[in-house]
């Protein structure tokens, strides 16, 4: 078990103009479950492969524990990796697959067998030990890949989208299994995914990447409550946060015909930037519908015309459009499951005070927290 640290780690592929991972600085604590998340092509897999030694580090350094591993071969790094396609050895049985690393390390057969059987028990694979991978289902293969990593008892687990080839239901199930297993084994884990739900549910901390640049590292809660910039705000959360450009008003921001109060510091920061407009971020669940009777006297909020309603049972998401400054923008509102508006109708919404996020329109950075 060990800490992992990226120090200004950079990877530029041959012939590429822009580095795939640009000066990544990341400290991962001993036993921590860190999730790297981002859209495809953001450099998250490359970052992981740099740590594995499968991708050349062209700048900066990477440490595992006290050891610098920047230029070490993968075999010398004491890591175990779970691949997206599982990368099982097709010519070996499940037991041989799981015991391969130990066999290479020259451990005696009995001990290997014992360790493999122990891991198989944890993963519910005991009855498949003598099968070849092609005779297994996707979920079983995924567990074999996990087993191969567990048997090693490495310093660090690396997982590269290990759930993306499973069906939705199995994915949710395995998600909790992996997270539970990691807590139990206490081995430092770096987990790559493009699915922000996985990131939020599994990680102790989440690191969001975009275009090879680290955007924010934080706990899932903080990531949700205090996104550092417009990109993180839009990426974390499902459905995505509504991001709309609004005018600054005297004592808040203008939201339709209503004025929503915002923190003084945020307003001052915006004014200091000399901006007249800011980007307002508000999550679908933080938009309140002003019912027809309960309209406040002077303002009704922003008018949303309902385009589509997605009913999820417990609640529903209204996909509507609003007109701001003559431009039509999409807006998503969460409504209780039993009070679903008609398609084509018009709602008036205002954000819950204190649940708004303000970002600089110019830089995209968060204005004060």
């Amino acid at each position: 078990m060990a800490t992992v640290s990226y120090k200004q780690a950079t990877c530029t592929y041959k012939g590429a103009e822009r580095p795939s991972v640009n000066a990544l600085d990341l400290e991962i604590a001993d036993g921590e479950f860190l999730v790297l998340v981002g859209p495809s092509g953001c450099g998250k897999s490359t970052s992981l492969r740099m740590l594995a030694g499968l991708e050349e580090v062209t700048g900066g350094s990477i440490h595992i524990g006290d050891r610098e591993v920047t230029n070490l071969e993968p075999k010398d790094r004491d890591i175990a990796m779970v691949f997206q396609n599982y990368a099982l050895y097709p010519h070996m049985t499940v037991a041989e697959n799981m015991g391969f690393a130990l066999k290479i390390a020259g451990i005696d057969k009995k001990q290997i067998r014992a360790k493999v059987e122990e891991a198989a028990k944890i993963l519910d694979l005991t009855e498949y030990l003598d099968r070849k991978p092609k005779a297994l289902s996707g979920g079983q293969r995924q567990r074999v890949a996990m087993g191969r990593a567990i048997v090693r008892e490495p310093q660090v687990f690396l997982m590269d989208e290990p759930l993306s080839n499973l069906d939705a239901k199995l994915r949710v199930q395995t998600r909790t299994q992996i997270a539970g297993l990691q807590r139990r084994l206490g081995i430092t884990t770096v987990y790559v995914t493009h699915d922000q739900v996985e990131a939020m549910t599994m990680g102790d901390r989440v690191a969001v990447l975009k275009d090879g640049l680290l955007q924010q590292v934080d706990t899932p809660r903080n990531m949700y409550d205090r996104p550092a910039n417009v990109f993180v705000a839009g990426f974390i959360g499902s459905p995505a946060m509504n991001l709309i450009e609004v005018d600054l008003a005297e004592d808040g921001i203008r939201f339709g015909d209503a004025v929503v109060p915002v923190s003084r510091e945020a307003r001052e920061a915006a004014v200091a930037e000399g901006a007249k407009k800011v980007t307002l971020g508000v999550r679908p669940e933080h938009l309140k519908i002003n019912s027809a009777e309960g309209l406040s006297k002077d303002s009704k909020g922003l008018a949303v015309s309902v385009d589509v309603v997605e009913e999820l049972g417990s609640d529903a998401f209204v996909y509507g459009s609003v007109t701001i400054d003559g431009e039509t923008k999409p807006l998503v509102v969460r409504v209780p499951g039993r009070e679903v508006p008609e398609k084509g109708g018009v709602l008036h919404v205002v954000p819950t005070v204190g649940e708004t996020h303000l970002f600089s329109t110019k830089s995209g950075e968060r204005l004060h927290d």
Binding site: L54, E73, M81, F83, A87, P90, H91, A101, I104
Partner: protein, 453 residues
């Protein structure tokens, strides 16, 4: 059953003529099937089955044709005849060596081209020999294996490498002017009479081309013997026009520098000296103290230079032809194996690396097992091909060592048409060859079946 059940319910009611049509349909279906098969069956029968049966029958008759029934005598002869036995032995060598060698070489090339720049160009060059006809390749390799290093590339390479590591003798082919003074001994020459202390030995040599005499050689001059020692000269006893006296140092005759001279007493070498630029040498008094000594010009001065190997000679011929065959087929193995390599999942290799395997272990324990099906295909194809080998052996060994290079297919040809004129024996060899190829074919068929399943 279940999907047939509704048919009788629906059909008889609605369309009465259907049964007739159906039975006709069924009949014509089988007939049609056979019709479609017919061309293939005819071709197979004419080109495969008929020749096999004919050969089998013919092998039971002797050289004089169908009137000359000999039973299994042809087969008896086959296993007692020396030529056929050589052919069988050579075929065995071919089968044991060639598929393994070609496959390993192809594997090495395939792995290397994965990591090398200009891989396509390299592959093209290695694959090119496949496009050359066996006949042309055979003729080319006859030249390659030519005995003279000036013509044969193989010997040119071998001799130049050899000369790189061992310097040749300075005066190959030189011999004494006459045998009154020197007689041949163990590749060198030794004086007949002993030389007394204080004496001077004149050792004349001839038969040296002018270019073999070093440019810095000075006119010959006998070495002045030190007190109690002895001296002498080794020189070319020949001038233009042959004016000089044999056995005497005449003006214009040159000394031979760098000749090893040994003093021998009672068969034992007691001292040695090397001649100077004027061909002179001296030996100290300590050598002559025990009485007269014989002087020996050692073999190292005269040994014939290394001329390469006799590739097309009886000893190396099979190895030489196998070399040519490997050159032709390595490209074939490489292309197939390279395709197999490309199909191996990258992440399985990466997983092995992360699992702690060295590159060699990855290759040995992951790459090779995953490549095994391709390797087997290449091997089996080569075994079948090698058993049938004829043209290359025929061309390369033509006229020189055909007897030693013989293989079954060639022996079959020789026995039937090329001199033997015994088609019965030829057919028997053909049947033997067929029986040898059969296991490889059966193995292949079983593998195809397993793959289809």
């Amino acid at each position: 059953m279940s999907d047939k059940a509704p048919v009788p319910v629906v059909v008889p009611e609605k369309t009465k003529p259907t049964p007739a049509r159906e039975s006709r349909g069924l009949g014509s279906g089988t007939l049609l099937g056979w019709l479609f098969l017919l061309p293939a069956i005819v071709m197979l029968a004419v080109l495969v089955a008929y020749p096999i049966v004919w050969s089998l029958l013919r092998s039971l008759f002797g050289a004089d044709g169908w009137s000359d029934f000999v039973g299994i005598d042809n087969y008896k002869e086959l296993f007692t005849d020396d030529d056929t036995f050589t052919a069988l032995k050579n075929n065995l060598i071919w089968v044991l060596v060639v598929p393994a060698a070609v496959t390993s070489l192809g594997l090495i090339f395939a792995v290397l081209t994965e990591r090398v720049r200009f891989a396509t160009a390299f592959k093209l060059i290695v694959f090119m020999p496949m496009a050359v006809s066996m006949l042309a390749a055979g003729i080319t390799f006859r030249l390659v294996y030519d005995r003279e290093p000036d013509q044969g590339v193989a010997n040119a390479v071998v001799t130049s490498v050899h000369d790189m590591f061992s310097e040749g003798a300075p005066y190959p082919g030189a011999r004494p002017r006459n045998d009154t003074v020197l007689t041949p001994q163990a590749g060198g020459f030794i004086t007949k009479a002993g030389t007394e202390p204080g004496g001077t030995a004149l050792l004349p040599l001839v038969s040296l081309p002018a270019e073999k005499i070093p440019g810095d050689a000075r006119p010959a001059k006998p070495g002045v013997p030190p007190a109690g020692g002895l001296g002498g000269v080794v020189w070319v006893d020949f001038t233009k026009g042959n004016a000089g006296k044999p056995g005497a140092v005449d003006p214009g005759e040159k000394g031979l520098p760098g000749v090893e001279v040994e003093a021998v007493r009672g068969g034992k070498t007691v001292a040695s000296a090397t001649t100077g630029k004027d061909g002179s040498f001296t030996m100290p008094a300590s050598v002559a103290r025990g009485g007269p000594v014989q002087l020996r010009l050692t073999e190292a001065n005269f040994a014939k230079s290394f001329g390469g190997y006799d590739w097309l000679g009886p000893n190396l011929i099979t190895a030489a032809i196998i070399g040519a065959y490997i050159w032709m087929w390595a490209g074939f193995a490489m292309v197939l194996i390279a395709a197999g390599l490309a199909a191996i999942p990258r992440d399985a290799l990466e997983a092995a690396r992360v699992d702690g395997a060295t590159e060699w272990q990855v290759f040995r324990r992951v790459t090779i097992p995953l490549l095994a099906p391709v390797l087997v295909v290449v091997m089996v194809t080569l075994v079948i091909n090698v058993l049938k080998i004829f043209d290359l052996v025929f061309i390369i060994s033509l006229g020189s060592s055909q007897k030693e290079a013989n293989v079954l297919a060639l022996q079959m040809y020789i026995a039937s048409f090329g001199g033997g004129n015994n088609q019965g024996l030829g057919s028997a060899i053909g049947i033997l060859l067929f029986l040898l190829v059969l296991p490889a074919m059966l193995f292949n068929i079983r593998r195809f079946r397993r793959e289809n399943r």
